[in-house]
Symmetry: C2
């Protein structure tokens, strides 16, 4: 038991240090020897805990993907009265996942393309499915008169673009907490979508 607990903890430790490394140098530029150095062990020893370098990337990418899904599942279940409310909550949920772990988000957004098949296809499909939720909010909002859009797809992209870029500049130690940033994004975007 003691051993099992230790082993799990070490595996998580590897994931965390690897996330930091991938964030800093990128996946392919990060070597297992770099990672071993950060952990204070030999490169070969890492393979007692994981099968391959890519396994770490898979873990990070799909953990983040699941966190995004979990965050909007809450909103889907509640189903608010207005699409404006659904969108506001979704913006906050999405942004919260990013700001909670910027480094993992960076790996999620930038390093996923180094996944091999079939993981790569599974990953891109998950992202398409996820985007669909934002699409459906806007479509319902247009239908019921809440939103006036030049183009639904471009509007979805505006929203997600603005949100996704935040891992690059958001400072968790800075002046603004996630709620304030979400509020500001919602304000700008919703005013734009409504008229």
């Amino acid at each position: 038991m003691q051993q099992a607990a230790k082993s799990i903890s070490r595996k998580k430790q590897i994931e965390l240090k690897a996330t930091e490394l991938f964030w800093q140098k990128g996946y392919t530029a990060s070597s297992m020897r770099d990672l071993a150095n950060l952990l204070g062990i030999e490169a070969a020893s890492i393979y007692s805990h994981i099968k391959s370098k890519e396994e770490i990337l898979q873990t990070v990418c799909f953990r983040m993907a699941n966190e995004f899904f979990d965050a909007i599942d809450e909103i889907k279940k509640n189903s608010y009265d207005t699409e404006e409310e659904n969108l506001k909550k979704s913006i906050l949920a999405h942004l919260s996942v990013i700001t909670k772990d910027k480094k993992a988000s960076s790996v999620f957004f930038n390093e996923w393309r180094h996944l091999s098949e079939p993981h790569l296809t599974r990953f891109t499909n998950m992202r398409k499915t996820y985007e669909q939720w934002f699409n459906s909010i806007l479509e319902r909002g247009v239908k019921n008169g809440e939103f006036k859009l030049m183009n639904t797809k471009l509007s979805v992209m505006s929203i997600l673009s603005a949100l996704n870029w935040s891992y690059r500049w958001y400072d968790p130690q800075g002046k603004y907490d996630t709620e304030e940033v979400a509020e500001n994004f919602s304000h700008i975007l919703l005013n734009g979508l409504k008229s």
Copy 2:
């Protein structure tokens, strides 16, 4: 003369193929042998035309940086009556640079961190300077009553985030031309910034 012209053309060819490669696999995952294969020559032969792999990256990153600067310099010179107009023109200018060469934009946005010093510092300084232009538009717009912002810095980030993400999804062969996309972005963002 003939030889000089040929040499320049070959160098540009290397840059173009490398851009494609870096876009597809990322800078560090792209090998000079990959690049040589695309060019139909041996890896060693590339070094007749360039000094190092990083030199190619530098060329692409700074060429794009200059294109962004050139695009807004036009606007700075003209200085339109309203900040709304300045912002609209800047949005179109910025977006045009991206959509004109998505692959080079992708390298510009993602691979710049593999630049070595002093290039890295020079690059990040250029980006800060560039962002400053958008900042100044919003600040003047707030001062003269055109814009009402919760927060200037966050608003700049909203704009640039939305625009910068476009290299990932914009399809030059698709339904929308750059002007339409810029129009849609301007519409959403400006309505949000004005109220």
